[in-house]
């Protein structure tokens, strides 16, 4: 059972969280401008890497905040977790 650091509540057991999939899949600004193929890439296609992965977790039983986690999908080691607001900064832990 993972130990995940919520940027607000601190280290909590995995059971308090909800996994949210790959991070950084943002909704196209103008969907109608996209071809069916481009739209389906947004809908269904994921990088699904073996190794480093940026993913979304939600502290469902806690503060209900979504945040980002950098986790290795093989070792399951968590490099860092940070608020969505800090996505592009190196802060977080």
């Amino acid at each position: 059972m993972f130990l995940i650091q919520c940027p607000w509540c601190g280290n909590r057991a995995e059971t308090e969280y909800r996994y949210g999939g790959e991070a950084g899949i943002s909704r196209p600004k103008d969907p109608d401008a996209l071809s069916d193929a481009e739209w389906s890439d947004y809908l269904f296609y994921r990088s699904n890497p073996r190794g480093a992965h940026k993913e979304l977790w939600n502290h469902a039983q806690g503060c209900r905040r979504w945040f980002e986690v950098e986790r290795d999908t093989v070792s399951y080691k968590i490099a860092r977790s940070y608020k969505l607001a800090d996505r592009n900064s190196e802060s977080g832990s």
């Binding site: 469902a60 070792s75 607001a85």
Partner: protein, 999 residues
């Protein structure tokens, strides 16, 4: 009469004799015995039969590694299958039996298998039982009947189990010399420590030996350490607690056995406790397993590991034999020889090494023990019990064979093939192991998580080295926890010098490995050297293939005894090195754990919460059966007298249509959404033009998943310029709130909107029917409920019967109806008040079933019943809800090629042509009843009821191109290939104009 019980010694309590039964015979032992030690004390050598060949088997080990002594303990509901006699603590009245052997253990017909063992070689079943094809099920019945060891209970478990979540700086797994030392150092440094040991007392290997520490018997030192640990406030000391699982992020699972040692049932308290430990650091100190030697007939009862023999002598005061031989390739077994000698048992040492042992060798010589150096045991004589062995001189050539052998009579053969550190947990945690060429074993290499291995489990054999390693490990983990470590000095022990062990994986025999008597590697599964060689010969050469093909290590001991020997022997016949062959994966669990332990208290009614509305008890009192909807229990119908479902529903429907009915709709999800950007936000979520709603108005709204499929629906009300009140389906409540929050937080953080769940805070009572207005008026309502003041699809604050409420004029039944939202703290009273106010109109409470019928008569869908994850709003004929003026979630998907097909399955109504058949929900629909299989299906029935109001059955269905097929006849395919014609009609069966609800 305990024939083999030594006069003195052992850690048993001779003042407390205990009676027990084994295979129907009564024996006695002492408190402190295990079933195994007590059986040995009573000279019971034959305890079981092997899995495949049904060879007679005796006790080999003294702990978790035992492969043979697998017994059934206890009776009836509390019987325990597959218990290792070596780990079953004796209690008075213990009832145990072996489950192998028919008609009995001694004379087992299936032992014939042994005669044909070469036919039953590795993987034989893959090569036969194929013809005639039809016979496989008979073959298999026979195979199944002969498989398995234990017998599962057939009654529910009378005992209870519990969990305990714990947190610590340092968890120490194993309470032998190294573990105790590590715990002591960590504890003195101020760390929060948990130390767990699987045995009933601490000490580990010290309990089996005769060493002394600081000049005193080791036991005294152990007691002193434990006493200090217990005294400290920061240490949790757990006995009978097996660390069985090492999971990610230092999550450790420990099984505490609370009651098995006291009796068959956990009289009071729990049987087992699962410690779910989150440890900052872990010290792994579970010691090592002694390896058997692999020689001919090395499975005969009376052949044991040397350390087990020492354990029985020193810990239990039992000597498993009268004349002993010790066969070894290393020094440690000389201790066993000395133990036997001290116990007055004549013993001969057979050491494969020309050099023999180091200082222990000298001690043995001095004690007058015969030591045959440069010799090996080539075969064992005796079937149900060792009666003697054959030995031969050996020059060190592992491939050699010979015939000149000498016979030695004995009834006990203690063997030692060296030691294997218990790297199980280290490996589970992701750590790697390295082969140590000098110690001939795998030792922990890289750690993958925050842990340190110490003592024998780190490859140290001498007591001094283990104690020192424990000190170092304790200091290391304390430091990692950022604690200042207190110096602890190394206790004084007496150390000799050992000669190096000689690798001897397969002991040469008089014939070559394929023809000599069986040389067992895995006792339980009868895996022999010949089997491993056969596997390799047939191309199963990867160690995992060999394991799976020969069942090596698949026994209930998980190969603790045999795996390393097996890998080494595989390496030999492949001409590879052991590290090249590698180990199989060490999977959880270290030793087996009960399902009950994993489930803990989440069984029975606590398996999953039952969510109850504020009015639940009243429904219960009214005798309503409940429908399970997600976690909720909702009243299904309210039977009167002996009414069945259909009678009750018919009555409830008619009452509602003709007068007034009432239902508890509290399980609907309710969300308060407000903020300056709430309109913009909801526009993006819902498909209709949310902004057009006037304050005080209600509207039906739907939301789609991004793939365009219907996700949820409900009524929303605009309570203010910047405040909406959203309702969701019962099952969708949590998902919808999460869905909305997710978009707000991850995609549209710039939108100023706050969402709050009100699902539990407000209860909803729906009053429906022509008389509903009168009922509310009777109850005393602060507002004019007339159409002019309070029109259909509007909302108003009011005081009803003295309670503040929010009144919605919405209808899910098509009748004049009001939905009363009230503070849940008053909902139960309000229900009662309305029942009273409605008396004169014979107000009728109704449940989910009637609600379903009423809405079906109106053609209203239920998300999740009339839809699944593959239905768009267009399929449902809800185009009018899809705004052209904006984008919304899922909109883009609706224009995908497959979503614009005109033959998609679309929602329609169905009438059975015979006017009487109620087609079961889920029934498939077809065009041509005569078509050959596979018959094309054009849809299925999603809802189907007998409408008491209309006097005939009605159904809703999803039918291919249904919208343009009105009045066509298709066929419903019932069970038993029965087919009934049905006509496609509009899904609105009743009051199509909607006049009744708008009055």
């Amino acid at each position: 009469m305990q024939l083999d019980r030594l006069k003195t010694g052992g850690r048993i309590d001779r003042t407390r004799p205990l009676n027990f039964r084994f295979n129907g015979k009564t024996y006695s032992g002492f408190a402190g015995d295990t079933l195994a030690s007590a059986l040995l004390a009573n000279d019971v050598a034959l305890v079981s039969r092997s899995f495949k060949l049904h060879r007679p088997r005796g006790i080999v080990g003294a702990g978790a590694e035992e492969p043979n002594a697998i017994v059934q303990v206890g009776t009836g509901a509390s019987t325990l299958p597959n218990m290792r006699a070596t780990q079953v603590e004796l209690y008075d009245g213990l009832e145990a039996r072996s489950t192998k052997g028919w008609p009995n253990l001694r004379f087992d017909l299936a032992a014939l298998n042994d005669r044909f063992s070469k036919v039953f070689g590795a993987g034989f079943y893959y090569k036969t039982f194929m013809r005639p094809k039809a016979f496989w099920k008979y073959y298999e019945r026979f195979i199944r009947a002969s498989a398995g060891f234990g017998i599962a209970p057939t009654e529910p478990d009378p005992d209870s189990y519990e969990h305990r979540n714990a947190h610590c700086d340092v968890l120490v797994a194993g309470g032998g010399p190294a573990g105790l030392m590590a715990a002591l150092v960590a504890a003195r440094s101020g760390a929060r420590v948990i130390i767990a040991d699987e045995q009933n007392e601490f000490g580990g290997s010290l309990l089996s030996g005769s060493e002394s520490i600081d000049g005193k018997p080791a036991a005294e030192w152990v007691n002193a350490v434990i006493a200090e640990l217990r005294d400290r406030g920061n240490v949790t000391v757990l006995t009978r607690s097996t660390v069985f699982g090492y999971y990610d992020h230092n999550f450790i699972a420990v099984a505490e056995h609370c009651s098995d040692h006291k009796g068959e049932r956990a009289a009071d308290g729990v049987r087992e406790r699962l410690w779910r430990v989150r440890a900052d650091q872990v010290v792994l100190a579970q010691g090592a397993f002694e390896r058997p030697l692999v020689f001919c007939n090395n499975d005969r009862p009376g052949v044991m590991t040397a350390s087990a023999v020492s354990t029985y002598i020193n810990r239990y005061g039992v000597c498993p034999g009268k004349r002993a031989v010790v066969f070894t390739n290393n020094d440690s077994a000389y201790r066993t020889a000395l133990d036997l000698n001290n116990a007055g048992i004549p013993v001969v040492v057979v050491d494969c090494r020309k050099s023999g042992a180091g200082s222990l060798g000298a001690t043995a010589d001095a004690a007058g023990i015969t030591v045959l150096r440069g010799h090996i045991v080539s075969d064992v004589i005796g079937r149900h019990r060792v009666s003697g062995i054959r030995i031969a001189r050996w020059d060190g050539d592992t491939q050699s064979t010979f015939d000149s052998t000498i016979r030695i009579d004995c009834d006990l053969l203690a063997m030692s093939g060296g030691w294997s550190p218990a790297v199980h947990l280290h490996s589970q945690s992701g750590g790697t192991n390295a082969w140590d060429e000098t110690r001939h074993c795998f030792v922990p290499a890289e750690s993958a998580q925050a842990n340190v291995s110490a003592g024998a489990c780190n490859g140290h054999w001498s007591l001094k080295a283990c104690l020192q390693d424990g000190i170092d490990a304790g200091a290391e983990v304390a430091a990692r926890c950022g604690l200042r470590t207190m110096p602890v000095e190394l206790p004084v022990t007496t150390e000799g010098t050992d000669n190096p062990m000689q690798a001897l994986w397969r002991v040469p025999a008089s014939k070559d490995p394929d023809r000599c008597p069986k040389q067992f590697i895995d006792y339980q599964n009868d895996t022999s050297v010949a089997d491993v060689r056969l596997a390799a010969r047939e191309g199963y050469r990867n160690v995992e293939h060999v394991k799976r093909y020969t069942a090596l290590g698949f026994g209930t001991d998980q190969g603790k005894l045999g795996n390393i020997n097996g890998m080494a022997i595989l390496a030999e016949c492949l001409g590879k090195t052991i590290p090249e062959v590698g180990t199989t994966t060490f999977r959880p669990v270290y030793t087996p754990v009960t399902f009950g332990l994993g489930a803990g208290e989440n069984v029975g009614e606590l398996f999953d919460p039952i969510r109850k509305t504020a009015i639940h008890e009243r429904h219960q009192a009214a005798g309503s059966p409940f429908e399970v909807v997600g976690q909720w229990h909702r009243p299904w119908y309210f039977p009167q007298g002996g009414e069945d479902l259909h009678a009750a529903v018919a009555r409830e429907c008619l009452a509602t249509r003709n007068s007034v009915g009432m239902m508890d709709a509290s399980t609907l999800g309710k969300i308060d959404a407000r903020g300056p950007d709430v309109v913009e936000f909801l526009e993006r979520i819902y498909t209709h033009d949310v902004g057009r709603m006037k304050v005080g108005r209600c509207a039906y709204g739907i939301m789609l998943r991004e793939d365009g499929m219907l996700m949820d629906d409900g009524v929303m009300a605009r309570l203010g310029e910047h405040q909406y009140y959203l309702t969701t389906t019962t099952g969708g409540a949590a998902n919808v709130l999460n869905w909305l929050e997710t978009w707000l937080q991850t995609e549209w953080p710039e939108l100023k909107v706050y969402l709050t769940s009100l699902t539990d805070s407000f209860s909803t009572i729906a009053v429906a029917g022509p008389k509903s207005r009168d009922v509310l008026q009777n109850a005393g309502c602060s507002i004019d409920l007339g159409k002019e003041n309070f029109s259909f699809m509007s909302v108003q604050q009011a005081v009803l019967a003295g309670f503040p409420v929010q009144l919605f004029r919405v209808s899910f039944s098509g009748e004049l109806a009001f939905e009363i939202n009230i503070d849940s703290a008053y909902a139960s009273q309000m229900w009662q008040i309305l029942m009273e106010s409605g008396k004169e109109f014979d107000i009728t409470p109704y449940g989910t079933e009637t609600m379903h019928v009423l809405r079906a008569e109106k053609g209203f869908v239920i998300v999740g019943q009339d839809t699944d994850g593959s239905v768009t709003p267009v399929d449902l004929g809800m185009n009018w809800l899809l705004s052209k003026n904006k984008d919304f979630l899922g909109k883009r998907s609706l224009s995908r090629q497959d979503c614009v097909r005109d033959d998609r399955k679309q929602l329609v109504g169905l009438l059975s042509v015979d006017g009487s058949t109620v087609v079961p929900e889920g029934t498939q629909l077809i065009e041509d009843p005569g078509a050959p299989k596979p018959v094309p299906m054009c849809g299925h029935v999603t809802s189907s009821y007998f409408s008491a109001t209309l006097g005939h059955p009605i159904a809703m269905a999803l039918v291919s191109a249904g919208h343009r097929r009105k009045d066509e006849t298709i066929y419903a395919y019932l069970a038993d290939n029965l087919v009934v014609p049905v006509t496609i009609v509009s899904p609105v069966f009743y009051d199509a104009k909607g006049a009744r609800q708008n009055v």
